[in-house]
């Protein structure tokens, strides 16, 4: 029997997370798939695409995700979408799309921020795909590869008629199928923030904020293990989330066993920036309470960012890391993806999710009789003398 799992990819300042459920359903939250072999710091860029292809399912030989959630359309949350994910009628997926290993996305969750201006090419590609899906007939909309869900308020009614989930609701229907052991609770974006973010052209405050909820068996009375994905939401948003959730006596939706540190381990989760301003250096009470009161067991905090150092530019902020470290059981429970297991060659971290919380999956054994794959040396130009 397969397990529920979450994998967090090292993608520098950006997010790419993959949830795999017991029934092999795959849910990706954001993508930041970079090109090239090494980054500007001479560290190897982890091949996210190769790993994704070996982690997700295939249907008729075509790789697919059940769900892709775009928390908000900033480049570091959708980089590589245009090239690596299939856009168009799923019936027209061709041999050439297959050869390019383009991933079909059965269902997309977006906010109305996808219609904001000055989007990157990748965000535009998502917007075009959203527009394609919204125009389909009711019958076509129900096909795998055409599902579209709007999260939150849609001021300009650009996605009128599209299924809409709003903050404060728990959703257990993924890609048209009811999940007995899993659900998402949607915390944000709030209506007001969506309107203001458009006016201010600050898409961070329009981020989808989710709590993923897991249980081992449908016989369990309630969900037992939780992972929070906060996009780039800042402390103002978190203040509202905590206030509203507690006010509605929904404390259970704030629990976390794994917390993806918001905005790439930015100080904005704790207070305003710049951090150098003395008045900003005190962490807000509600941010600290989320870490203290709602942490389950020995909670894990994931920093999906560059290597955290004291110097600018940031995020990530060293001060934020220090704060997290103070609130968790041990330094090992703060996972800095950029240096896991080494700075030069970072790799994803994957957790097995059970009713006992999150367990880091150990390394797998290798076979002594081996051969090289296509994406290693054969994909590399070699100069000989």
């Amino acid at each position: 029997m397969a397990n529920n799992k979450i994998k967090y990819y090292p993608v520098n300042n950006g997010d790419t997370s993959l949830i795999t459920l017991k029934d092999d359903t795959t849910i990706q939250i954001d993508c930041n798939i970079r090109e090239g072999e090494k980054d500007s710091d001479d560290n190897y860029i982890y091949d996210v695409k190769e790993d994704l292809l070996s982690s997700i399912q295939k249907r008729n030989s075509n790789p697919y995700l059940n769900l892709f959630i775009l928390t908000h359309p900033d480049e570091d949350h959708c980089r590589g979408f245009k090239k690596n994910y299939y856009q168009g009628d799923p019936d027209n997926y061709s041999e050439s799309n297959r050869n390019n290993h383009e991933i079909i996305v059965d269902e997309i969750w977006v906010t109305s921020a996808i219609f904001s201006s000055d989007l990157s090419d990748d965000a535009n590609a998502i917007r075009n795909e959203v527009n394609r899906r919204k125009r389909l007939s009711e019958i076509e909309k129900n096909k795998k590869g055409n599902h579209l869900i709007l999260i939150g308020y849609d001021e300009e009614k650009k996605l009128e008629g599209v299924t809409n989930y709003v903050p404060g609701t728990e959703i257990n229907v993924i890609d048209g199928s009811i999940k007995e052991n899993f659900s998402f609770f949607i915390h944000a974006p709030f209506k007001k923030d969506l309107i203001e973010s458009k006016a201010d052209n600050d898409r961070n405050s329009s981020s989808i904020v989710l709590q993923a909820r897991f249980k081992d068996s449908q016989l369990d009375d309630d969900h037992k293990t939780f992972a929070i994905f906060g996009g780039d939401a800042d402390h103002y948003i978190w203040e509202k989330i905590i206030e509203k959730t507690e006010g509605n006596d929904n404390h259970k939706y704030l629990k976390w066993d794994i917390l993806l540190a918001p905005h790439h381990c930015s100080w904005t989760f704790f207070n305003d920036v710049p951090y150098s301003n003395v008045e900003n250096q005190e962490a807000k009470d509600y941010s600290l309470r989320l870490l203290e009161e709602y942490q389950e067991g020995k909670g894990k905090v994931i920093a999906s960012s560059k290597k955290i150092v004291k110097e600018k530019p940031n995020p990530p902020h060293q001060a934020a890391k220090d704060k997290y470290l103070k609130k968790i059981n041990s330094d090992d429970d703060f996972i800095e993806l950029a240096i896991n297991p080494s700075e030069n060659r970072p790799e994803p971290i994957e957790f097995l999710i059970s009713n006992n919380g999150a367990t880091k999956l150990p390394e797998k054994a290798k076979v002594a009789i081996t051969t090289g794959g296509a994406l290693g040396a054969p994909s590399t130009v070699v100069k000989n003398g």
């Binding site: 880091k360 797998k364 054994a365 296509a374």
Partner: protein, 763 residues
């Protein structure tokens, strides 16, 4: 301070270590990043390395609070004589390790560290394909799974205790015994009668086959009446049976009469009656009370062998894996001597040993074989399903000049595919096969069986035979033969059947072991690129390992349970073909000095069959130039191909990549093909850029078709101006490729074709 570690009781080992173990130690040091590892002596044959493993445990604490820690001390036990053929064992070093709450532990003797059951089937066979660091990785996975309640991946069924070191078998149908257990009445036992064979093995490895299971008693009175009946029938049957070398007797099946369930494991098997009482009391079962009645009624006196078979039934919280009930049975013999029988009681020191349960199999085999010519002296390794058929083909065709090696005993489930019968149960396969052959001919002087592990056989045995035929299907044996220069039998062959019996492979080495057996076996994988049947098999094999979070897979009834799916008719088909070719090629009539691969195919519906031979010329063998200990074995056509390509570009450098695989156990790279430089490559008289156009696609396709067995394995380029070594630019390329190759892992293999030399380098 209380001594909580087994390692504290062991002394430092002061002897010398074989090179293979020194290398293993270095690997362990490097893998665990520790400078110093104590080497302790576990016993005269084994050293024990006390190590600490970091374990990933769940964030909210361990499953049901089991005491698995973030740092677990272990003992890595390495056999001094037989490593790496014999895989190391991983034991917990903790005396307080929670053995009672964990499955996947082998049973142990008192005061011995508990050993982890890490993989399905045979650990030695698994290790033949792995490194010692992989064994440690799997041990870490074991602890991590134990801590999160994932040790049993069976959909919520109960994993029975792993038995190791049992003596003999109890044969009965699990379902029949379950029906005998009653929790309605006030009794907690019933009688079960058996038939045991009084053969040579009975003293040490007895087999009891239980019969007449209609007996069921809910009240003592009924039981007592039953005793009376049984006494009579037992004695009557005994008189009849003794002539036929078997005996009937009566044993006890006991259980907890309150129907209580128990989830705890008791891996400490009793060795005397006192420990057996304690074992039973752990499951709230009162054995002495049942035995009192047994003795009072004189049942003990009907057991002519002075042995009382005891079956203890324990009700588990979930259904037992592999069975349809929640009852797990444990099997013991109380070895009472005559004195105790007469005194009607059992002393606490009375010896007790435990046995395994085997389900009886009722199906039988039949095989009609053709007759062929007599052959020279032949050594067979393996008298298993395939081996026994081949040996009987040889024997029935009048060839009695045979030696058979096998250290395995015959089990009832072997009957499904084996050419022996139930009367061979518990006996050594090689011995019985030879006995059977002896029984149908008088000229049996040259027939010989060796009941040992092949790894313990000396050179003489291999020298004195003209042919050596390996039907063990063991990668471990293949690696051993390849690495062991004493195996100099002039003609060596290997037979195996794959893909649920659809494919059969016969390999005959070339003269002077070239092509060698591993060249041929690996070449089969290469054929997967073009042969769809082989490809389908390799893809299926590869799928078994994909998609699992952990390497420990498919835990079944027992780690040594028979699970291979293959019908006798398919096996017989392949065995017949192997036998015909081996007979025909006994004097290398067709193949001469070359090697041979024969692929036989039979579809599962039987409508499609074929048999195809491939004759392979000797391989080119190279030792790498930079003393890394690796060798390259290259199919003869590859070198011809690259010479042709080099000729085409004259003074300009050119190159390409190699297709093949690497074996870390034999430190050999096998090369079967080359792909010339892609069209985006750039050539000049001083440099060569190997491009990438279409290359990943080609390799991908090869990977896919061969289930990832065959793929990219290295690079070559020419130095037409005559530089007989790697240039600085080449070294740069190697530094670029190495981290990419380490990921798979494959060694980085770069070779130079200079004017008249092929120079391989491996890093």
């Amino acid at each position: 301070m209380v001594n909580m570690l087994y390692s504290n009781d062991l002394k430092i080992y002061s002897g010398t270590l074989p090179l293979s173990i020194e290398e293993a130690l270095e690997e362990v040091r490097s893998f665990l990043k520790v400078d110093n590892i104590s080497i302790l002596s576990q016993d005269e044959n084994n050293i024990a390395l006390p190590l600490k493993l970091d374990i990933n445990i769940p964030s909210k604490g361990t499953f049901e609070g089991i005491d698995i820690r973030e740092e677990e001390p272990i003992l890595l036990v390495i056999n001094l004589k037989n490593y790496p053929t014999k895989a190391p064992l991983i034991k917990s070093d903790r005396k307080d390790f929670p053995v009672k709450n964990l499955s996947h532990l082998y049973v142990v003797r008192k005061n011995n560290a508990p050993s982890l059951c890490l993989v399905r089937e045979n650990l030695d066979e698994w290790f033949a394909n792995r490194r010692i660091s992989d064994l440690i990785i799997v041990a870490k996975q074991w602890f991590s799974k134990a801590s999160s309640g994932q040790l049993v991946e069976d959909g919520g069924e109960f994993d029975p205790v792993r038995l190791e070191g049992y003596r003999g078998n109890f044969i009965y149908e699990h379902e029949d015994f379950v029906k005998l257990i009653s929790v309605d009445g006030d009794v907690n036992f019933t009688l079960v009668n058996y038939k045991a064979f009084l053969d040579d093995g009975f003293k040490n490895i007895p087999t009891y086959r239980f019969l007449d299971l209609s007996i069921k008693a809910d009240e003592y009175d009924e039981i007592l009446q039953l005793f009376a009946k049984l006494n009579l029938s037992t004695l009557k049957e005994y008189k009849k049976g003794i002539k036929d070398k078997f005996v009937f007797g009566t044993g006890l099946l006991i259980w907890n009469d309150r129907g209580e369930t128990c989830r705890s494991y008791n891996t400490l098997m009793p060795s005397n009656y006192e420990e057996l009482m304690e074992f039973c009391s752990n499951y709230s079962i009162n054995i002495s009370h049942s035995l009192d009645i047994y003795f009072k009624r004189g049942l003990n006196k009907s057991n002519v062998s002075n042995r009382i078979p005891i079956i203890v039934a324990v009700r588990r919280p979930k259904k037992i894996i592999g069975f349809s009930s929640d009852i797990e049975f444990f099997h013991f013999i109380i070895e009472v001597n005559k004195e105790f029988i007469d005194s009607d009681s059992i002393s606490p020191e009375t010896e007790v040993f435990f046995l395994a349960h085997r389900e009886p199999v009722s199906s039988s085999l039949s095989c009609k074989l053709s007759i062929r010519k007599n052959l020279d002296k032949t050594l067979f390794l393996g008298a298993g399903a395939l081996g026994s058929k081949l040996i009987f083909h040889y024997a029935r065709s009048g060839n009695y000049n045979l030696t058979v090696i096998d250290n395995d005993n015959f089990s009832p489930h072997n009957i499904v595919r084996h050419d022996l019968f139930m009367d061979s149960t518990g006996k050594n396969k090689a011995k019985v096969v030879i006995e059977k052959i002896k029984s149908f001919n008088n000229d049996n002087l040259k027939l010989k069986s060796i009941e040992r592990n092949i790894f313990e056989c000396g050179r003489k045995l291999f020298d004195e035979n003209k042919w050596f035929i390996d039907s063990s299907a063991s990668l471990n044996v293949m690696n051993w033969i390849v690495n062991n220069e004493i195996i100099q039998t002039p003609n060596r062959a290997r037979v195996e059947v794959a893909n649920k019996g659809e494919l059969g492979f016969l390999y005959i080495e070339g003269k002077n072991q070239n092509p060698r057996i591993d060249d041929l076996v690996n070449y089969i994988y290469f054929l997967g690129i073009k042969n769809k049947n082989i490809s389908e098999w390799l893809i299926n094999e590869n799928k078994k390992t994909e998609g699992n979070d952990y390497d420990i897979v498919d835990i079944g009834v027992g780690c040594n349970s028979p699970t291979v799916i293959m019908s006798n008719d398919s096996m017989s088909y392949h065995a017949s073909i192997f036998s015909k070719i081996l007979n025909n090629e006994h004097d290398r009539k067709t193949i001469e000095n070359n090697g041979l691969i024969n692929i036989s195919y039979i579809s599962n519906d039987g409508f499609n069959i074929n048999s195809k031979r491939i004759i392979l010329k000797p391989f080119y063998i190279f030792t790498c130039q930079n003393n890394s200990g690796w060798k390259i074995r290259m199919s003869s056509n590859v070198l011809n191909k690259i010479y042709k390509e080099a000729e085409l570009y004259g003074v300009k450098e050119t190159g390409g990549i190699f297709i093949g695989l690497a074996n870390y156990k034999t430190k050999t790279i096998h090369v079967f093909d080359t792909i010339n430089a892609p069209i985006d490559s750039k050539r000049s008289t001083v440099s060569f850029y190997r491009g990438i156009n279409n290359l990943p696609e080609s390799i991908n396709s090869i990977n896919d078709k061969t289930g990832n067995m065959i793929g990219y394995i290295g690079e070559w380029h020419t130095h037409p101006m005559g530089l007989d070594k790697l240039s600085e630019v080449d070294m740069k390329a190697i530094r670029k490729l190495k981290p990419l190759n380490d990921k798979y892992p494959i060694p980085t293999f770069m070779s130079i074709l200079s004017k008249d030399k092929f120079l391989p380098y491996i890093f």
